[in-house]
Amino acid sequence: MSARSRRLLWLVVVVVWAVPFVPLLIWPFAGSWLYPAPLPTIWGDRAWSYLASPGARVGQALFNSLSLALVVAFAAVALGLPAGRALALGRFRGRGLAHMVFLLPAIVPPQAAAFGLHATFLRAGLVDHWLGVALAHLVPVLPYVVITLVGVFANYDASFEQQARTLGAGPWLRFRAVTLPLILPGLLVAGLYAFLISWSQVLVTLLIGGGTVTTLPMLLLAFVASGDHALAAALSLVLLIPAFVVLGAAIRLSRTAGTPAGGGRIA
């Protein structure tokens, strides 16, 4: 390919990928933007002052989204850490099968499982409850965490632990002083992807949260239904900015952790 056509291709890629963000960045600052004006006729902060008002319940939704994503990420990494290690380093029969079992919930949409759990969660008082939503988020999150951690442990040299053992270190000291520092970047990458997956959940939250556990995506659905473009765009930015910060951190960390950027994530 010639240098010129390459530059053209680059331009096409940038335009196609960046243009959809443009109206999303303009709408939140539009006071009045009637068809066919290409830009708002009056600029203003109507959308933001509404989002900041108590009636919009953005604070509660932000708190729910953040706390769910953080706790689910932490729990998934804690649960997935020994599994990632066993799958990457262990030699035992049925390892391929175990791999499949972890891959399956990453592929099969979580909704059938969520529908199935609904009645049981209802009896247990977990429906319309933060904890129930957190448990349900683990279904789509945990497989990705395990897959990422298998990658982390694939580049891990367990002989360092052996040396620490020879020097008399107990299991906890070996984990804290040897294993953890070596895998920490990888753990953080796995946790950041877990955060993003929980952060984007819609159907599972809607079903188990039942409209009581309001997260940012729940509010977004309501704003879109109301037809107010400025509100929908402003709330989209509230959802996007933390997501970009998290992805940026994950990309930076994955250089040191040796895991692929993007983490093989689609949802």
């Binding site: 004006a37 972890f102 592929i107 009645a119 929908a232 692929p260």
Partner: protein, 288 residues
């Protein structure tokens, strides 16, 4: 005492078994009419019969399959060629690489909002078109959201999935030995032949993996068809959700049957993709 090497699997495996496996089993039981809470415990295939008899089922199945097939195919082709074109140039390094991943963390619900703001008949493109004198009024702009073909849904899916495919292809390209290309070139292979006989076969496992994930996601997708689709026919996930939250509780077994259908189709596609990857790995492996 030495601990068995599989012990570490247990925390995650039990969680998956309880929440995912348990959830699916409960869904199966309830789709067969086992609802003690509703005072019912007779197993029957009524829900499945009702789903098949529901007039909205077949159009929804066709529509969902169409969405999944088109988005998978389009994102595979565009993602593959974008990755190849950007990979063998300096532009593929550094900035572009990160810029291209810009939409990876965008939640699909936000992606759907972006499509709404751009592509409705009074969206940004229609406004720009009017300002430039290309169209006179909103009605002149093609209907691209809430349309029978699901154009808006396809735009969102392809926009996001293409990047996913490209990132997968990129990762696979890194592991291809450049000597293969050199050998083919030395033997006088044309650029097309080098691509079709050398690069493409080596990329097949990555492409199959990406295609499986894109198909499964788009087949079970909920929020994008909810926000950008017509009310009828709707995607299967939306239909299942409407049945589940319907005032009439008798519709719940149907909702479960529908969601299990989605699970089975995506599970079969996943198994097929896995089997294909294994077969390719066997025949593509080093020969003795």
């Amino acid at each position: 005492m030495r601990l068995p090497p599989w012990l570490g699997l247990l925390p995650a495996l039990l969680t998956i078994a309880a929440l995912f496996g348990g959830g699916l089993l409960l869904a199966l039981a309830q789709s067969l009419g086992y609802w003690p809470a509703l005072g019912r415990a007779v197993l029957s295939l009524d829900a499945y019969r009702a789903v098949l008899a529901e007039p909205s089922f077949w159009p929804s199945l066709t529509f969902t399959t169409w969405l999944a097939a088109v988005s998978t195919l389009a994102s595979l082709i565009v993602g593959l060629f974008a990755a190849l074109a950007l990979n063998d140039s300096v532009l593929g390094q550094g900035v572009t690489r990160y810029l291209a991943q810009l939409n990876l963390p965008v939640p699909h619900a936000v992606g759907a909002v972006m499509v709404l703001l751009l592509f409705t008949q009074s969206g940004w493109f229609a406004r720009l078109g009017t300002s430039l004198g290309w169209i006179d009024r909103p009605a002149d702009f093609p209907i691209l959201t809430h349309d029978p073909l699901g154009a808006g849904i396809l735009i969102e899916y392809v926009w996001k999935s293409t990047v996913f495919v490209a990132v997968s292809v990129w990762a696979a390209l890194q592991s291809i030995d450049p000597d293969y290309q050199l050998a083919a070139r030395t033997l006088g292979a044309s650029p097309w032949r080098r691509f079709s006989a050398v690069t493409l076969p080596l990329l097949r496992p990555a492409l199959i993996g990406a295609a499986t994930l894109v198909f499964a996601y788009t087949f079970g997708g909920f929020e994008v068809p909810l926000l950008l689709g017509q009310r009828y026919p709707s995607a299967l996930a939306v239909l299942a959700y409407r049945d589940y939250v319907a005032v009439d509780l008798d519709r719940r077994p149907e909702a479960l049957a529908l969601s299990l259908l989605i699970a089975v189709v995506t599970g079969v596609v996943a198994a097929g993709g896995w089997w294909l990857q294994r077969r390719l790995a066997e025949e593509g492996g080093p020969r003795r």
